[in-house]
């Protein structure tokens, strides 16, 4: 039995809710009662004032009693504003009920006593009291007491004989009775309709809530299923990494032993064959490790082992490891780190791995040139980062290939892949590892001139979402990054200056 005038209803709700103080609105039951209270106070006086109006018309000599009645009915309009201003809902509701009793008994007293045509309004008292105050026993008792007191006073005044016979004739009294009864019925109907609407909306709310609960249960099930699938995936990855690495380690280890045997016996031919098995084994192991690491990152299962690390030894170690590879390509590998570069908190293993990938890339694509490694700090506080830069004078990267450089299985073009050999996984993995630590790898390059890769990692961990996709960039956007580098170059370090000139 809900009334539905969508727009007017919304406007009505807005109007009603405007008067309800926030602390009242927070409690659903209180809000329901306050809404009933406000509907009755906002619209009630329109209907109630019909009675004094009728009295004014029908009574040949309307006196102060009509004015008092009209004033106290109109007084109901003050209540919503007082409620908004000071709250104290229950006190206001009780005062309002008192005022209602006064209006009704006042009009009864002056117009016919216990046979007054305004007597039907007495029915609205318990009804409104229920609407306003709900079912709290204490409040009910208070209302009952007020009722009794008011009737006692009313009765007392009647007994004292203060009631004057109304100066209205029988027809006028009948007219008043008609108007009064219709107005009272209208009033009760209005309140009942509104109450029905409130109940209906509560039902809707409950249906909606049940829907939400069902959705939540479904979500929980889906999450559990996903977790199971995730656990299975993690399990698979762990098993695979063990199952793949164990035989590979045997191939590498035993070929190493045989190689040492062959070297002892000066068997060059066997040694060269074993050398191939050994290096192919190493290559395969590296590929397997990279694929497994990439899968782990993709599956969101790569864990970070954060710890304080010293940057200088990490760089020196990396340089020592790549000196051989650099010499093979007749390159000069130099380290230009500031000695006071200090330490940072990050996953040292992953930072080392990322640096290795970048160094590997540089040694692979540079011949008869220079590879220069440098480190510096940038930014302060939470934005503080460590920059590890590897510049080479190698073949460089064509501008068209730069955007896809960090995608998996991208190695310049096919011809360079066959000439220089590369897995196409290294840079992708390096960048993903850096992003996992809240950093990134940036690249600047000019074909035929050289490339500069910069590893950026926060000096204190800023963790990225583990499942980091390539299209998202938690790191520093390249344009800002270049500008920042340029700015640093101006005031700080001559080594970056050289870089900026080379890769302008």
């Amino acid at each position: 039995m809900a009334i539905s005038f969508p727009t007017s209803q919304a406007a009505l709700n807005d109007l009603v809710d405007w008067f309800i103080p926030a602390e009242l609105a927070a409690d659903r039951e209180m809000r329901k009662q306050a809404r009933m209270f406000l509907i009755s106070h906002l619209f009630g006086p329109f209907i109630g004032n019909v009675v004094p109006l009728a009295l004014y018309i029908l009574d040949p000599k309307p006196g102060f009693e009509v004015v008092v009645l009209a004033a106290s009915i109109t007084g109901f309009w003050i209540f919503p504003f007082v409620l908004r201003a000071i709250g104290h809902y229950y006190l206001l509701a009780l005062i309002s009920i008192q005022n209602l009793m006064f209006c009704i008994l006042w009009s009864c007293f002056f117009y016919g006593g216990v046979t007054s045509p305004t007597l039907p309004w007495v029915l609205t008292i318990p009804l409104l009291a229920f609407f306003y105050l709900g079912s709290a026993p204490r409040l009910r008792l208070i209302v009952l007491g007020m009722f009794a007191l008011n009737f006692a006073v009313f009765w007392g005044f009647l007994q004292a004989g203060y009631a004057s016979e109304p100066a209205m004739d029988f027809a006028a009294l009948q007219g008043l009775g008609l108007v009064s009864t219709v107005a009272a019925s209208l009033y009760v109907t209005m309140m009942a309709l509104f109450y029905a609407k409130v109940l209906a909306s509560q039902g809707e709310l409950e249906t909606e809530m049940r829907g939400h609960l069902a959705t939540a249960a479904e979500l929980r099930r889906a999450t559990e299923e996903a977790e199971r699938a995730g656990a299975a995936k993690a399990d698979f990855l762990a098993k695979m990494s063990h199952e793949l690495r164990t035989p590979l380690n045997a191939v590498i280890g035993y070929s190493q032993i045989l190689l040492e045997d062959a070297a002892d016996e000066d068997d060059a031919e066997t040694a060269s064959d074993l050398e191939r098995i050994h290096s192919a084994g190493h290559h395969l192991l590296r590929l397997v490790n990279e694929v497994l690491d990439l899968s782990k990152i993709e599956a969101g299962m790569m864990e970070l082992h954060l710890e304080p690390i010293d940057v200088a030894p990490l760089l020196e170690e990396a340089i020592a490891q790549f000196t051989g590879a650099a010499e093979q390509g007749r390159n000069t590998l130099t380290l230009a780190s500031a000695p006071d570069i200090g330490g940072i908190v990050c996953d040292g293993g992953k930072l080392r791995q990322a640096l290795h990938q970048v160094l590997d890339n540089a040694t692979k694509f540079t011949r008869d040139g220079t590879i220069r490694v440098s480190a510096m700090r940038s930014g302060v506080g939470r934005a503080a980062t460590l920059l590890l830069r590897v510049e080479d004078s190698g073949i460089g990267i064509a501008e068209a290939q730069l955007p896809s450089l960090f995608e998996q299985f991208t190695v310049g073009d096919d011809s360079s892949a066959s000439k220089y050999g590369g897995t196409g996984l290294g840079l992708a993995l390096g960048r993903k590892l850096c992003r996992l630590m809240g950093g990134d790898i940036e690249v600047e390059s000019r074909e035929g001139v050289g490339s500069a890769f910069t590893i950026v990692v926060p000096t204190t961990p800023r963790l990225a979402v583990p499942n980091d996709r390539d299209d998202e960039k938690p790191g520093v956007p390249p344009d800002r990054f270049s500008r920042r580098l340029a700015a640093i170059a101006e005031r700080k370090s001559p080594m970056i200056m050289t870089a900026a000139q080379t890769h302008a």
């Binding site: 590498i252 280890g253 190493q256 032993i257 082992h305 040292g348 293993g349 080392r352």
Partner: protein
């Protein structure tokens, strides 16, 4: 000839490292788990122990602590072998009384350097 005790649970790794160390002129004895490693240390009193950290039930740290707490074996230098180059592992190895620390996979020249340094210090 120096005697080295290798405590390592992977049979293949044990075999490979044993043979490579023997080729370098060391006498090598092996133990496949923590308890037998502790027992063999007392029995053989090697000059040096290579201790894999990731061993089944009794891990390498625990075995090291047991070896270090027995008067007969307390002086034997121990080099811990871990899969990760974490500084927490490094700190742990110092805490339990290891003489040094190396990471797997084994880089033989590097490990030989560490073995040499430990033996020299002990002598």
């Amino acid at each position: 000839m120096h005697k080295i005790l290798l405590v390592e649970d992977n049979e293949m790794n044990r075999d490979m490292l044993t043979r490579r160390l023997q080729r370098q002129g060391f006498a090598v004895c092996c133990a496949p788990d923590g308890p037998s490693g502790v027992a063999m240390a007392a029995q053989e009193t090697p000059d040096l122990i290579l201790m894999d950290v990731a061993l089944g039930e009794m891990d390498g740290w625990e075995a090291t602590q047991l070896i270090k707490s027995a008067p007969r074996t307390a002086a034997i230098p121990i080099i811990a072998l871990t899969a990760h180059a974490l500084s927490s592992d490094r700190a742990k190895s110092v805490e339990v009384g290891c003489a040094d620390f190396d990471t797997k996979p084994i880089d033989l020249p590097r490990l030989l350097g560490k073995i040499g340094a430990c033996l020299q210090k002990a002598a």
